[in-house]
Each structure stands twice: as structure tokens, then as C-alpha cells.
Assembly symmetry: C2
DNA sequence: AAATATAATTGAACAGTGTTTAAATATCCA
DNA sequence: TGGATATTTAAACACTGTTCAATTATATTT
């Protein structure tokens, strides 16, 4: 059936146009200032049409959030050349932080905003694949570090979550404007400096 | 002038009633589901009245956020009995995490939500007093730890921000539902376990 | 006590939000 | 060409934060 093939293709095309419009809008106005009507205007369809391609707004935001994870993961895989696991781990933190600094809104959507998680919750499976995959990657790396004698007397799962938390904490306090406690000069470099401070902690863990 | 005294008192009273209503509403429906009209209904005034007592909604949320800081600080000061600075620091983390677990919405308002910071930004001074005071407290404590030989080769400011970040990261990933990556059994204890994992890191820093 | 000035309160309006749905239009197949 | 199917739309619903002219209440002065 060539016709239904084409129809499916056209469907996917419009779906992508909606996502493109959404991405474009929320990159230059922010997620909170992007409405369904705004998106509809760009793709030159009525607002109602969007609901035939996405369940709701959270569905759209969840799609963009997944896109962010693909971007992040492609940055992460570059580091696979680093053979020493502990150097790998420290570099991973730098890549993660860099991603957050360069893509504030995307990071916000991926790790802070409620909407994508609300969408996940309403799915039948109710599991956060993007997060799980990325976290598993981190866990395996930390396991390698432990195998080399790092992090004695630690349990893999809490340790991994803690390391993720530490780096996320730095980025999220920055993104959500809690670095106002610092003088302006320091504010600009605090994210990177705090990460290096954490990396120093790690160096002492053998 | 007794009359203007009484008027000022009445003004303050209504201001408090507005805050009480707001607190009540957002504690059992969440901040995002609390509208000015909801608050107005509880205090039995029209929505417009609220704007004669608060600049805008952010003003109200900022007031509640300050209240949260008073609560947190009163929990923190209890620990002043702990004489060993490193034990003090570890206990402070526990108190902080406990506060977050027991007051999710309040923590969210204090350290994650944009609104209170947006209010601070529009103030003439543009400084986050609540955050600064609390951070200074942490910094002084960490300075004592350093004086005892802990955290060698670290700089006070980035180190302090990093330690705050680590603990905040744990709580905020939990509050914003990013612990879905873990099995349900682990989810319940991960926050406390991750904190203890971080405390183990600290123990190695001498 | 009456008139005026000040303060407090209101209701309606504005411009937006996400979402649903009945009706209209377009496309496809027999 | 007629009927089934899919797509698109406009309008409506029930909200949101905020502003503002008009009203009501209180206080001060004549």
C-alpha cells in the first residue's frame, strides 16, 4: 500500500514540523513562554491540529527532552577514548557540566522541569528510559573505578546517584539562579570551579 | 496617632491572612495549582485586593520562601552543640536533607522554583539575603573543618558551593522525580543512602 | 453634623493559557 | 460519482495573572 505509506510519511513530517517549531520557540523564548497557539502559528495550522499528533503539551516537551538526551549521549561517547576510568569519570563530569552551561533550557527540561516526568508517569510502562540508560552508563564506569580500588567501602548504586547528584546540583543551582549568593566575578566561574573541587574529592578516594 | 497605628496593624493582619491562605493552599494543592483567585476566595476578598498588599504573585511566593528559610535555619542552629566541625558538617547535611524530605514543596520553592528569584531580581538591591545568610553559615563551618586539616588544596568558596550542590542535587533529583531510574525499594532510601555516601567521601579528606 | 479628602475594595475587563469537540473540509476507495 | 475515512478547523470551556475605573468605607476638616 503505497498510499498509506505516504500518509504515514506525511504524518511523521508534520509531527517533526511541530517539534521543530516547538524547539525553535522554546530555545529563544523559553519553555514557559511557549504556548500551543505559538507553535500552531509557526506551522500554520490551527491549535487543535497539534492534539492529533501529540497527546498533550507534556508529550511535546517529553519528545524534546529525549532529543536532549541524544545530544548529551553523543557528547559522552566521545570520551570512550579515555582508558583510565577515574580520568574518564572526571572528564564525564566536565562534559556534563559543559552541556548544561551551553544548553540551559534543554538541561532544565531534562533534569529539572516537571513536565517530561509527568508524561512518563502517565505512560503505561511508567519508566524513564532516557534517564535509566544514561545512569547505567555512569554506573558501569564507576564500577570500573571501584575495580581499580577507588571508592572503598562504598555501594555502587548510592555512590553513583551521589556523584550524579553532585554534578547536577552544581548545574541546577546555577540554572535556577541560586548563584546570586556569590559575587559577580566568581559567579561566572563557580560552576567549573565547583566541579574541579569535586574532582579533587574523587582523587582522594583510593 | 492611634488611628494610623491601628490601620497599620489591620493592614499587617490582612497581609498575614493572605500569606496564611497561600501557605495552606500550596501545602495541600501545590504551588502551581494555587491561584490568586483561590487565595482571594479563602480570605473572602476580591482578587484585586491582594494586589494592594503584594506587588504580584512572586511577592507572595517570595514571602513564603523566606518563611521556609527561617524554618530551615532554626533546624540548623540546633546542631551548634556539635563541637567537632566535620561531624557538624555531616550532621548539617542530614538536617538539610531531612528538611527537604519533610517539606518537599517548601524546598522546591526555596531552591528550585524560579518565582522567588524573579522577585529578588526585580528588587532594587537584587541580592538573595536568605540564601547568602545560609551559605555564609555553611562557609564558616567548612572553614573550621579546613583549619583542622580537612580538605587540603581546596579553596573555600568553590568547595562550599560544591558541598551545598552535592546535597542539593540529591534532594532536588528526588523532588523533581528523577529517582525513577531506580527500583522502587531503593527509591525510598536513596536520598539518605546517597548522603551517607557523600559523607564517606568527606571522611577521606584529611 | 455635613462636606470633603483619603483609603480600601470591588467587579469587570484584558490578554492570555491548555484542552475538547462538533462541524466542516479534504482525501481515498469502491 | 457516492460513501467512508481521515484531517482540519473554529468556537467554546474553564481557567490564569494583572490592571483599573468606579464604588464603598473610613477619616479628617470645616
Amino acid at each position: 500500500m503505497g498510499i498509506s505509506d505516504r500518509k504515514e510519511r506525511e504524518r511523521q513530517e508534520l509531527k517533526n514540523r511541530i517539534l521543530d517549531a516547538a524547539r525553535q520557540l522554546f530555545l529563544d523564548k523559553g519553555v514557559d513562554n511557549t504556548s500551543i497557539r505559538n507553535i500552531a502559528e509557526i506551522i500554520e495550522y490551527s491549535p487543535g491540529t497539534i492534539y492529533h499528533y501529540f497527546k498533550d503539551k507534556n508529550d511535546i516537551l517529553h519528545n524534546l527532552h529525549s532529543e536532549g538526551f541524544r545530544q548529551l549521549r553523543s557528547r559522552m561517547t566521545v570520551l570512550e577514548a579515555v582508558s583510565d576510568p577515574i580520568e574518564h569519570l572526571k572528564a564525564l563530569g566536565r562534559v556534563y557540566v559543559q552541556f548544561g552551561l551551553e544548553n540551559r533550557d534543554m538541561y532544565d527540561l531534562m533534569f529539572i522541569k516537571d513536565e517530561p516526568m509527568e508524561f512518563v508517569e502517565n505512560e503505561e510502562e511508567d519508566c524513564w528510559v532516557e534517564g535509566s540508560t544514561t545512569f547505567d552508563y555512569l554506573k558501569k564506569l564507576i564500577q570500573k573505578c571501584m575495580a581499580k580500588g577507588f571508592f572503598p567501602d562504598q555501594e555502587l548504586e548510592p555512590l553513583s546517584f551521589m556523584i550524579w547528584s553532585a554534578v547536577h546540583g552544581i548545574v541546577s543551582l546555577y540554572i535556577r539562579n541560586r548563584t546570586k549568593i556569590l559575587s559577580e566575578e566568581i559567579q561566572n566561574s563557580i560552576v567549573v570551579d565547583a566541579l574541579e573541587s569535586f574532582n579533587k574529592l574523587i582523587d582522594q578516594q583510593k
